[in-house]
Symmetry: C2
């Protein structure tokens, strides 16, 4: 079959460890399904700041542009937290999203059976929770003009939140399409009672909704959504929202499942190209100890197979392998009830590879 180029960005903290296991999975699927992957590796985030003086080196960006998909571990850590803006890992993250046109961040929040009790929510409330947050990723207050100025009351800081109809339409359409493949319920989240950008957002949703007549649309104010996620998480199917609200709500949604360490995410643009990464961060506190959980990153590979390559069979095979390994009782420390029986990162990766 056709060669697929995958840009692999290990990043910082536990990034390299978990990505190494995901690479084993890629290799195994080549053997089993006859795929051909060409992996290229690039520096990004804190390590790129240290070695190259910038979080997003030009060659890393070029590598991503030439690839069919990107697999990202995690970036950031306390070491770079007090750096000036252009020397911070998150500046690289915002830069790569914008440069690659990844306007849509898709984050499933599901409850893993083996982690049912890990949530701080009552099991009966959580029952059946399986939602996706579709977050706009390259617009809004993240990318608007920002500056300081002297005002009558002293120094002032300004951030600008801008959205145009084209930006709103493309993300909302994508959310409608995701909803059509699921339970056909879309919650559009905004703050239309206060923000002009939210009013344009809501108008746009209402304008294109008739084209997706099979999808039931609900408008939810962001403050209310933060409450309803807690009160009735299982009633949500697809949530679509702008960049800043999506940042907050997708983290809230992920955390309430109790499975945050197992969740994967996709950042997509117009075509099939996508960047895939675990929802969890670089966990600098446990980096290098070989105890991190590679499952979210391995499941990011499954997501890449499904959404970018259309390798549905292999995607399902990976997901089933993960499920079987968990059902057999194997756990890394973060998800183990009996920590003394926990296995390490490579052991978990090997078990999943063997189970595919």
């Amino acid at each position: 079959s056709e060669v697929k180029k995958i840009a692999v960005i290990a990043g910082d903290g536990i990034g390299p460890e978990v990505v190494a296991e995901a690479e084993k999975v890629l290799k195994r699927t080549e053997e089993l399904f006859g795929y051909k992957f060409e992996l290229e590796r690039g520096l990004f985030g804190g390590i790129a700041i240290d070695e190259r003086g910038t979080p997003l080196p030009q060659d890393t960006l070029e590598m991503c542009r030439n690839a069919d998909a990107v697999l990202l571990g995690a970036v950031g850590g306390p070491k770079w937290d007090n750096n000036p803006k252009e020397l911070r890992p998150e500046t690289g993250l915002l830069g790569i999203r914008k440069a690659l046109g990844l306007f849509s961040n898709i984050r499933p929040a599901v409850v893993f059976d083996c982690l049912k009790d890990a949530s701080t929510l009552k099991p009966e409330v959580l029952e059946g929770t399986d939602l996706i947050v579709v977050r706009e990723l390259t617009g809004g207050i993240y990318f608007g003009e920002k500056f300081r100025r002297e005002g009558p009351q002293g120094e002032e800081a300004v951030d600008t939140c801008v959205y145009n109809v084209t930006e709103i339409e493309r993300i909302v359409r994508q959310a409608f399409e995701v909803a059509q493949k699921r339970s056909k319920r879309l919650a559009s989240v905004d703050k239309a009672n206060v923000l002009e950008t939210s009013r344009l957002w809501r108008e746009t949703v209402n304008r294109i909704a008739p084209e997706y007549a099979d999808v039931e649309v609900e408008h939810v104010l962001v403050d209310n959504c933060a409450m309803q996620l807690l009160r009735r998480p299982s009633s949500f199917d697809v949530i679509v929202t702008e960049n800043m609200f999506g940042d907050i709500l997708s983290d809230e949604a992920a955390m309430l499942t109790g499975s945050i360490g197992m969740l994967s995410s996709a950042s997509l643009g117009e075509g099939s190209f996508g960047l895939y990464e675990p929802v969890h961060g670089s966990a600098p506190d446990i980096a290098g100890q070989g105890i991190s959980n590679p499952i979210a990153t391995i499941l990011s590979v499954a997501l890449m197979f499904r959404l970018t390559f259309g390798y549905e069979e292999a995607a399902a095979a990976i997901e089933t392998a993960v499920k079987n390994v968990l059902d057999a009782g194997h756990r890394t420390g973060d998800i183990a009830v009996d920590k003394s029986k926990a296995i390490g990162t490579t052991a978990m990766g090997d078990l999943i590879v063997a189970a595919i």
Copy 2:
């Protein structure tokens, strides 16, 4: 004792019902403690739109300005939801906050014993949760310039988020002072890795923190805070944040206690003047049935006594009365386990009045 002027704004939905019970409490404390209250009533919100063509009539605003404190029921309802902006209840809300200089919204999120099981969080996670969100209320993206324009990609909407050091300093100082009277832990919430306003916010907190050396300060990113509120709610004491983040996080915090129907809030300015209201909304679905719960509004009176009038003894007496009535097993429908035994709004108000 000195006459205190209280501006009473019943508002919409269940507002008039719950405010009527709070007025009984005011009356009872006059008899018991020798206070003198002069109540004036004004139109505000949806009812003001209907009767006067504006959500915030000038005479209502004047009445508030001449008062020592304002007691507000609730405003809004579906009837006005699709009105143009200047004819919507929330425009009145934003207008009154700005006009009265109420830059600080203080919202306690505590768990009521009788509602321990009403939360969707596990009781062991909730145990000991008692936090206050101090939200900046008259700045940020709520009040910055907003407009539409034609751009290269079609219609664009713009919202501007502005903060100056003076605005940040006064709210942060107030939060430090609240923290000093409590467990001396302050979490300042921002998005300093992305927003310029957040960077100014964080710099300001760090600059004045040494003046409150007994308070332990933690900076938390807003997305992380949305998660930590779920994971470790009881570890928070005072949370201070800007307007939009505060809107979202204070609702999340209130909902996780399970006690949202019982929580009161204060909006304060420079002096002792304040506006007091329940956290819950106007609940149009149950308005006029006499079944709403007046406790949050009655507790708003206690908060007014404590924060504006310095009537600590009476504030405590009201709170104890509420506790005793609840301990005796009386419940309105919203908090009753056995709905068939629920009592109505006036019955609950009368019991509390009798218990003071």
